[in-house]
């Protein structure tokens, strides 16, 4: 037997260390190998839809076509039953294989969905990818319902839904005439989008928030730019909003009403001085789904409460 001389010993130790490290790499490999492959078998249906976009999922539920849905994205949070359907992740970072594994006949997406390469891969696999525009108008909503009804062969249900929405919408338009008599000058509303107190964004023109503010009979306090831009305290003060509109999520990110009032600049606006700050669920406010008339109605009554009192 050969003796291990002291000079050789460290090298042997190093070799053992290497072997230990290598065996650890091997253990990870074994883990990957033993991992159960996810598979599910579904009963045959006439249509299997993966729907990317909260508003589109809402329309499908409203038409009573939810049995066609086999997958939705993470923005599909309403109605609650949507959370029982398989989640395919965030609309902007979809996975081609994950979606194809659900064996869909059609994938319905809004313009926001992506990455574009993944959508291309899905349609190359022979699955129809339908891109529905996400225009922030009432007319756009009706067009989306018509297209969805045609795609899912739920035309009559779509027609009933449209009729109901038109009725609600027309009532809303009629009531706005009476309201505009009460509020003589249009009020300025600023939509504040907050991740945290250090990252405030305001909605400019050509945004969903802008359209909602106008539908509810007020005007957007920001008209200088389009899209969402970071808001500085100075531009907040110079925008002179009579009311701050926020999402529930943003309000919670900041804390409470006093935290919002303490944001730099807020106390120097009419909105801050009169504590005119209202919050609303983001998917209701900005979704432009079948709850659009409801959202406008609620927003309008909130505006009324704030301005008339």
């Amino acid at each position: 037997m050969r003796r291990i001389t002291p000079a050789r010993f460290p090298e042997t130790l190093a070799f053992l260390m290497r072997r230990r490290a290598l065996s650890r790499i091997g253990a990870i490999g074994a883990l990957a190998f033993s991992q159960q492959i996810h598979s599910t078998s579904y009963p045959e249906q006439r249509q299997r839809i993966v729907c990317i976009g909260g508003a589109l999922t809402e329309i499908i539920f409203e038409m009573g076509a939810q049995s066609c849905l086999v997958g939705v994205d993470s923005t599909s949070t309403f109605p609650k039953e949507a959370s029982l359907i398989a989640q395919v992740g965030y609309a902007r970072s979809l996975s081609a294989e994950g979606i194809l594994a659900l064996a869909p006949t059609n994938v319905i997406v809004t313009e926001e969905a992506g990455p574009p390469g993944v959508l291309r891969q899905i349609s190359a696999a022979g699955v129809g990818v339908e891109v529905l525009d996400s225009g922030h108008r009432y007319e756009g909503l009706i067009q989306r319902i018509v297209r969805l009804g045609r795609l899912l062969s739920f035309e009559s249900e779509a027609a009933i839904l449209i009729e109901r929405l038109n009725l609600e919408w027309n009532q809303l338009q009629a009531s706005s005439l009476t309201h505009s008599v009460i509020v003589a000058t249009p009020r300025r509303v600023l939509f504040l989008f907050a991740h945290s107190s250090s990252r405030l964004m305001a909605a400019g023109t050509q945004t969903g928030a802008h359209a909602m503010i106008e539908y509810a009979g007020a005007i957007n306090a920001i008209s200088e730019y389009s899209g969402y831009r970071p808001l500085t305290p100075e531009s907040l003060v110079s925008a002179r909003p009579d009311l701050l509109l926020m999402t529930d999520h943003g309000f919670r990110a900041l804390g409470d009403l006093t935290a919002v009032l303490q944001l730099p600049g807020v106390m120097h606006t009419p909105a801050g001085q009169h504590q005119h700050i209202i919050k609303m669920d983001a998917s209701l406010l900005l979704g432009f789904g079948p709850r659009l008339p409801l959202a406008v109605k609620r927003l309008k009554s909130e505006f009324m409460d704030a301005f008339i009192s």
Binding site: R18, A32, S39, G71, A86, S93, E97, A101, G117
Partner: protein, 354 residues
């Protein structure tokens, strides 16, 4: 042949190669869609017509399609990108004689991403001017130029500002990195909603864009650079002894620096162009390799390439299988796997010192 094997008589090389193969097979096996042997055999039956008649409507059904057009290119892209990052990391560390050097720390990958972001924001409005082929290769070329210019600037700037100082080089790299991040930030500010979508794909890093157009391209670049590196390994070894010593041994140091910079830019630029910025592998792979085979560049270059591929493959497989049918950004897993490995390595080294 004997010469080739003598160079790799260390068993680590074959072991890593074997591990890459095994992990590759595991990665091919796992995914959202279940694939069995029938689909493989069908793929082999069609293989010939697939390889030689590109663009014809595919005769493949669901699972076989997923295998051929989604999973195989993705696994190959993972291997190639991981290998590119590992190799470029080893080259950068050798070139700058610093264990902290890494394409992403020195701003090389940020330079590439920055050039690509500028292209997306400034040129995409006129994108109709270019044909489809030009547009596919425009971004890789631009990001290569971004990476190359950053490398050159580092080379020239560092030797002019603080000659021979490693700290100066690192600080310059960090400054360039910050500059690149600022330009990318400005681009996201200017970008329209649509451009923002392609920008976020870039800055996050993902292998989701894998297809049969980019995989062979990246493979050719990788093999070419690797073959060239093998001829330069001894010169890099000499450079490790210091510039003056290397010069006295007959190494043309300035020329070596230029050529290695071009190679690093090529590897980093092309992989950033196809997958966005994926950090950490360029730093961690050479360190792991050095723990196994020591600092000899002849062994270090291939091993860090293989270990980079291994890390990338594992990270991407985890990223796309854990939350089926959704996907997690791969960067999370490269750091999650690499971080503990680096700590383990430091721990081992500490023992040796004692």
């Amino acid at each position: 042949m004997k010469l080739v094997f003598q160079r790799y008589k260390n068993p680590t090389f074959f072991l890593s190669l074997l591990l890459v193969l095994i992990f590759g097979l595991c990665a091919l096996r796992s995914g959202a869609v279940e694939v069995n042997w029938n689909h493989w055999s069908k793929l082999f039956a069609f293989g010939h017509s697939l390889l030689f008649s590109e663009g014809v409507t595919h005769p493949l059904d669901g699972e076989t399609y997923v295998l051929w057009y989604l999973r195989i290119p993705r696994v190959l892209l993972g291997v190639f990108v991981g290998a590119s990052l590992g190799l470029s990391g080893a080259l950068v560390q050798g070139l700058f004689r610093n264990p902290l050097a890494d394409p992403s720390l020195l701003g090389v990958t940020t330079g590439a991403a920055c050039a690509a972001a500028l292209t997306i924001v400034l040129i995409s409005k006129q994108s109709m001017l270019f044909s489809f082929e030009v547009r596919v290769w425009l971004l890789p070329f631009v990001s290569f130029m971004g990476a190359f210019l950053t490398c050159m600037f580092l080379n020239i700037g560092a030797s002019w500002l603080m000659p021979g100082s490693i700290a100066g080089l690192l600080l310059l790299g960090i400054a360039l990195n910050a500059l690149g991040v600022a330009v990318i930030g400005f681009c996201t500010y200017l970008a329209t909603d649509e451009q923002l979508r392609s920008l976020s794909f870039w800055t996050l890093g993902s292998l989701a864009g894998a297809n049969w157009t980019i995989v062979p391209g990246l493979g050719i670049v990788l093999v070419a650079v690797y073959l060239w590196c093998r001829t330069q390994a001894q010169q890099l070894n000499a450079l490790n002894l210091g510039e003056a010593t290397a010069a006295s041994l007959g190494v043309l140091v300035p020329r070596l620096r230029w050529t290695v910079s071009v190679m690093v830019a090529l590897l980093a630029g092309v992989s950033v162009a196809f997958c966005g910025v994926i950090g950490f592998i360029g730093l961690i792979a050479p360190h792991l390799a050095r723990a196994f085979v020591g600092a000899d560049m002849r062994a270090l270059l291939p091993i860090s390439m293989l270990l980079g591929a291994l890390l990338m493959l594992t990270a991407d497989t985890l990223a796309r299988t854990i939350v089926i049918p959704a996907e997690i950004p791969v960067g999370i897993f490269t750091a999650l796997l690499g971080g503990p490995f680096l700590m383990l390595l430091l721990h081992t080294k500490r023992h040796r010192v004692e």
